[in-house]
């Protein structure tokens, strides 16, 4: 009976979805500059996944960090920062970075809370991945209108 009800609920839920949902704030992936790590990321703005942050509003970056070369390799620490290359300055705030290194399997999961882009323009996000012996950087750009 429970399985039947759950199936009905699932079908109803699917039926209530729009036929072509907008591709909102999917996870994106970037490889670290040395090619050894893959970093998947998405932004959380005002509690919801979003494509871009809002100027002068705090937001969060959610991260999944996984070795491309050795599945036993783990990110032990993350540093998250952002710069405006054209302005030669970075953020005015320090985000709070948390990391669950994934234990025995899967990607390490991280969050950088309290990110804040105080100006419009091109921001370069830098993720420094420390495996305990070396630090590698993954980076990507966000254009803030």
């Amino acid at each position: 009976m429970k399985i039947f009800l759950a199936t009905i609920a699932l079908l109803l839920a699917q039926g209530s979805q729009p036929s072509a949902p907008a591709p909102a704030a999917a996870w994106r992936a970037v490889t670290s500059n040395d090619g050894s790590w893959i970093v998947r990321w998405r932004l959380i703005v005002e509690g919801k996944p979003a494509e871009v942050p809002l100027v002068r509003k705090r937001f969060t970056i959610e991260l999944q960090v996984e070795s491309k070369l050795d599945p036993t390799m783990r990110a032990r620490a993350l540093t998250v920062d952002a710069q405006m290359p054209e302005h030669l300055h970075g953020m005015n705030v320090a985000p709070t970075v948390a990391l669950d290194d994934g234990g025995q399997g899967g990607a390490a999961l991280g969050t950088a809370q309290g990110m804040l882009f105080h100006m419009s323009g091109r921001w370069e996000v830098d993720i420094d991945i420390d495996d305990g012996t070396t630090v590698e950087r993954a980076q990507w750009n966000i254009a803030l209108p």
Binding site: L88, H89, G90, N92
Partner: protein, 397 residues
């Protein structure tokens, strides 16, 4: 003969017309954001921000010289209503010579950070700074509270808004609270110093009404000349002014090192770099005990601020609204006139590297005389109507 006359008249008309201004899509988008800002945002850190009684008390405090150590200097000494709430001096002058230019208070309630270096994060917090600064009003908690208690007008107004003044001797906490309340009252008054629409605002509204076209040929309005249109186009393109002067306030509200050399005999100013530690230790900051939103968004931002070397020598981008009323310009009044400012931006003549910082967004633009003339014409359209006269007069007179 008639045909020839017609050709001559047509040619004369074409020669008399200014060339039509064509905007790119990005310029159109920038200009759409530059219109009249409307009412200031709420200030959750000050529950009295929009309290009429608090504004009345703040009005009286603002014009009261007896709050100063020598009884001669009020807020209005440096923020003169008839000069756009500035003093017209390169460097402020209170009890002694200051080291920075007096900023205008017009439309100040729209800001997130206050002073040139942003060492205050609310209008009410900023209000204490000049009262207590030894070079400005040089006052003390004790002196300020005694003045309020001893002047029936102030005392009555205070007690109507904040409740009875506690009897002396006061604890440190009581004194702090009274002075915090006085700052909140001054802020409530300063929130009234909003200007009305400028000629530029009226033109933007007209331009939007006709669909915000990229061709400005047909969008004319008295007070916003063809030269001003050309200036607006330069402002949002080759002049690169828009990189910092954006949005309704024509300011990004943030901090930049522009390389304007310090005035003679003044040492280099660390500006935003040094201000962050002052802000985070200020008892009247938005995350402090006297804030009415100590867990609010602004409080969280303040607590997360970090001083980074690239903030050295970086000053807040001032609004360009009312710029015709607020000379001289830059943080030490380095430039007396707007042509001097534009000459600096065009040539970077005399610019210096500010120690740790080099802001690459600023580069020589080599503007032509026509482009500078256009920019000047545009800047002259940014003065809004004065605030309501009731808030610009001295209530003690």
């Amino acid at each position: 003969m008639e045909h020839r006359t017609s050709i001559i008249v047509t040619l004369a008309f074409l020669c008399a017309c200014e060339p039509s201004v064509q905007l790119t899509n990005s310029q159109v988008n920038l200009i759409k954001e530059m219109g009249f800002p409307g009412a200031p945002p709420l200030d959750p850190t000050n529950r009295y921000a929009d309290d009429a009684g608090a504004a009345g008390l703040g009005h009286a405090l603002f014009f009261d010289p007896n709050l100063s150590r020598n009884g001669e200097i009020s807020c209005a000494t440096c923020h003169l209503p008839e000069r756009g709430f500035t003093d017209g001096l390169a460097l402020n002058l209170g009890l002694s010579q200051g080291v920075r230019n007096t900023l205008s208070l017009l439309d100040c309630a729209h800001q997130q950070w206050f002073n040139w270096d942003g060492q205050f994060d609310s209008l009410w917090s900023q209000a204490h700074g000049p009262m207590l600064h030894p070079r400005e009003m040089g006052s003390s908690y004790e002196h300020i509270i005694d003045r309020v208690r001893g002047e029936p007008i102030l005392c009555n107004q205070y007690e109507k808004v904040f409740g009875l003044l506690p009897q002396p001797p006061l604890t440190e906490s009581q004194s702090e609270t009274i002075v915090a309340n006085l700052g909140k009252a001054i802020a409530a008054y300063e929130r009234k110093l909003v200007t009305g629409r400028s000629p530029f605002d009226r033109w933007v509204e007209r331009w939007k009404q006709v669909g915000a076209p990229s061709d400005l040929a047909g969008v004319t309005l008295g007070g916003f000349s063809a030269a001003a249109q050309q200036g607006l186009a330069t402002f949002t393109s080759r002049g690169e002014c828009w990189k910092c002067h954006v949005g309704p306030l024509l300011s990004d509200g943030e901090f930049h090192a522009l390389g304007a050399a310090p005035r003679n005999d003044l040492i280099a100013d660390s500006a935003r770099f040094g201000a962050i530690a002052k802000l985070q230790s200020n008892r009247y900051r938005s995350s402090g005990a006297h804030s009415d939103a100590a867990q609010g968004e602004q409080a969280k931002i303040v607590e997360a601020l970090v001083a980074r070397s690239d903030q050295w020598g970086a000053f807040r981008t001032p609004t360009l609204r009312n710029i015709g009323k607020t000379s001289p310009y830059f943080h030490q009044g380095q430039f007396a006139t707007l042509p001097e400012v534009l000459h600096f931006y065009s040539t970077l003549e005399g610019a210096v590297t500010m120690d740790h910082h080099r802001e690459s967004v600023l580069r020589k633009t080599d503007l032509s005389p026509d482009e500078i003339a256009g920019l000047l014409a545009f800047l002259k359209t940014l003065d809004g109507d004065d605030p309501p006269i009731q808030w610009t007069i001295n209530p003690w007179n």
